[in-house]
Amino acid sequence: MNVLATLPLPWPFEREYLQLALAGAVLVGATAPITGTFLVQRRLSLLGDGIGHLAFAGVAIGLVTDVWPIWTALLTAVVGALAIERLRARTRENGDLALALAFYLGLAMASVLLSRRGNVASNVQGYLFGSILTITRSDAVVLAVACSLVVVILAFVGRALFSVIVDEDAALASGIPVARMNDLLMVLTAVSIVTAMRVVGILLVSALLVLPVGIAQRVSRSFRSTLVLASAIGVIAAVTGLVIGRVARLAPGGTIVLTLGALFLVVLAIEGPLRRRTR
């Protein structure tokens, strides 16, 4: 796995840790908005935050039990995401209640567990605000495998998921396994959240799923082009944020999200002319 580390990339990616950070930024920047496109159209933009809070509880479990926190975060996020979906399906009119529960229970569990573990502030900070500059080669491999899996699975089930988004009742009547599709989207969201957590942190993770989609759907005409454009915007923002973060000595996670926020405002300002041109 020395390939990436030995690439003769120019400044600002001349060092190994920066090349690994670049790899993480590109992988997560490209993948998270693809999952996010399905979430946003299902009006579940805040789901990423809910699952992120549950993943934080998973991080706390990992820190307390000395298991790699990524694994415990992944397990907690997947189980929690499926629980949210069950609760959401049962009380459709109160879907936000399921999210509120995830927010509060995730934070409360993390708080209780971390209180038993003494001084873990520095470890926790990396998960809360991201630690892209500390990505190791093994982290990069895990990110690559997880992101590839998410993209391949979504490429396979994307049409059916789109059909469910357009009209859930009609999809059910036509024989599409709607409940399984919804569960699968939850699991893929959980995986996307845990991978993006490394880049921008739990507190900002939802932004990487949602903001590129919010920008892309304002200028795209088709669902397919929204997916592609959101993914491209995710990569551009992640790499730009990383570069600005290095040049200006700023936290890269927050800088990536601020870059997305700035892009969103720019597109909002020129939305009219752009839409007319793409019609």
Binding site: Q41, F156, V157, R159, A160, F162, S163, V166, D167, D169, A170, A171, L172, A173, S174, G175, I176, P177, A216, Q217, R218, S220, R221, S222, F223, R224, S225, T226, R279
Partner: protein, 248 residues
């Protein structure tokens, strides 16, 4: 020569209750291939519940439901139905083209297979929306979106088309086009149509039968029979319950 007309939908002694509330009671309905049937009734009369039971989305509390002579849960039988549910329109920001929305209706049991392009083209042609195939769905009017959703149901080339309250909020011109489209489907393709609606004015001349429901079937016969008794099949936000009382 004896012509055997296939029964596309049959409900025998069907009852359904949400908890202790009886919504449908001993409902018997049979729809033959190539007929245009309207299902009307006041709010809460059980129309949408009946449709969901007919489509296999809800199991009846008692009774037997058959689609094309098979149980309503049979996936092959269900694949012969096109369904346009009662729904809200897709918003302006929904990023999808008309073609993508119509193609999404072609997925069924083999949901991983893309809908053939010619089927999408054909369905769009039936509803006269071919020239807007590349338009963004959210930019269309309510009536245009309604025709897109009918095309989405037609892309499966169904033998039974079920439409739940499709004309709500649609202007008169679009209702006339909608009526013409349904007429063509019945006359040229032999599609049986079950239309659930509060307002039958636009399709009155094309209907073969009207079924009036309020928990149980209160009337089942040709529309002329209702008209002769002084019932107005047009917009009737308030008069529907009154003439239903008369029928009951």
């Amino acid at each position: 020569m004896l012509v055997v007309v296939e029964t596309v939908l049959s409900l025998e002694d069907v009852s359904f209750a949400y908890g202790r509330e009886l919504v449908l009671e001993d409902v018997n309905v049979s729809i033959a291939a190539g007929t245009f049937v309207a299902l009307v009734g006041p709010n809460g009369s059980g129309k949408s519940t009946l449709v969901k039971i007919a489509l296999g989305l809800l199991p009846p509390s008692s009774g037997v439901v058959s689609l094309f002579g098979k149980p309503s849960t049979d996936p092959v039988a269900r694949s012969r139905i096109g369904y346009v549910p009662q729904r809200h329109f897709l918003g302006r920001d929904f990023p999808a083209t008309v073609r993508e929305v119509v193609a999404s209706g072609g997925l069924g049991r083999q949901w991983w297979r893309a809908t053939p392009r010619d089927r999408v083209d054909d369905a769009l042609a039936v509803v006269e929306m071919s020239d807007l195939a590349s338009a963004r769905i959210g930019q269309l009017s309510g009536g245009q979106q309604q025709r897109v959703f009918i095309a989405k149901a037609l892309v499966r080339r169904p033998d039974l088309l079920v439409l739940d309250e499709p004309v709500a909020g649609v202007d008169v011109e679009q209702q006339a086009r909608f009526s013409a489209t349904l007429g063509r489907l019945r006359d040229e393709r032999g599609v049986a149509i079950l239309l659930v609606s509060h307002d039958l004015a636009a399709v009155e001349d094309r209907l073969d039968r009207v079924i009036v429901i309020r928990r149980s079937i209160r009337f089942d016969g040709p529309p002329e029979e209702l008209s002769r008794s002084g019932v107005n099949l047009g917009t009737h936000g308030h008069d529907l319950p009154r003439w239903l009382e008369e029928i009951a």
